[in-house]
Symmetry: C2
Subunit: 224 residues, 2 copies
Amino acid sequence: MDTMERAIDIQLEDLKKMILLMGGHVEKSLAQVTAALLSRDVDMFSGVHDIEKLINEDHIRVDNACMHVLAKQGPVAKDLRLIISVLKINNDLERMGDQTVNISYSGKDYLGRKPIQQQLSDIQKMSEIAGRMVKGSLDSFVRGDVEQAKKILLMDDEIDALKNKVFQDAMAHMKAHSDDVEAGMDLILIARNLERLGDHATNIAEDVIFAFTGKDVRHGGKFG
Amino acid sequence: MDTMERAIDIQLEDLKKMILLMGGHVEKSLAQVTAALLSRDVDMFSGVHDIEKLINEDHIRVDNACMHVLAKQGPVAKDLRLIISVLKINNDLERMGDQTVNISYSGKDYLGRKPIQQQLSDIQKMSEIAGRMVKGSLDSFVRGDVEQAKKILLMDDEIDALKNKVFQDAMAHMKAHSDDVEAGMDLILIARNLERLGDHATNIAEDVIFAFTGKDVRHGGKFG
């Protein structure tokens, strides 16, 4: 390690590591609920609650670490932007954890009902894209890779299109099979939560662009 | 004004004023979409987009103001907690603005369909509670009233119960009237967005408790 390294650099690296660890928990939780749903294994959903506890602990830990660095170092400019971004990313990851828990509830309901014809392939695709968005947005954050962050913003359109497809297919099915109204609703709620996961990854990508360029691309970048 | 007042106190007061202004925009947006829905006046929904622009501007302005105070004053302890809370509240209010926009989309869809029997009284109640939660959480923030903030946390149960009722009633209706599947879904999505509005007000109340007591009540207060 360069002996000229500033104390704050070490603390910022620690913050990044905490965010990566937390992001890993979110990815794991998403993978778990998706596997449970696709393999129709209700018992697998319970693992999500153990991961949620870890994510909630991460959430508090990251906030406290940010407060500590802000209070001790009084950072400015790029360092300050990075810490503000960590605070925001922390919030987004925590919400993502909540969304995987929501998926586990809807998924459990869904598996408890009479199986319906509707394919889960779109849900599977949505989960894959959401997973790549989480991983990609955090990679871009840790490496300060603004170009990678911009690619995440485009992936959000894919997941939105799939959500619309799931909504339409499920509603068509519900109209034709009134016994399956609840099951169709479960799929709609799952798709909605996956879409929201993508939205949060998009927020993270926007925060990365802000942290490393100082450019505010939120709300179309009109007010930055 | 007390001449001994610190420069940071003036800046913190300015932050509070910005948050109140932004909260006023969110309240107005919620009132507008609710009135449009209940009076079946589709044209009223368009006003929401003008308010959303204001909320997005507020969002960027508050973030920038917080960054400025953090960089210039290097605040610690209670002052730092207050600014971190403003950053979080800012995020919640912006999401609430998005939720009112979502309600306007679902509301517009709903009014464009054949009217269904389902009462909107529960939606109206949910909107009223959500409005009181927004107002109350921001009041508690500006006045540093932790007791008031705690009351907001309880109101969230009311809004959740109403959401469950709207879900159940709408699904029962959809089962009995397959022509109304889309309309029922619109009501479900509106109820879901109102519930999310309540969740964000709850977040704000939790931030108020943290800012003024240093006590972290998130995630059951287990990790604070």
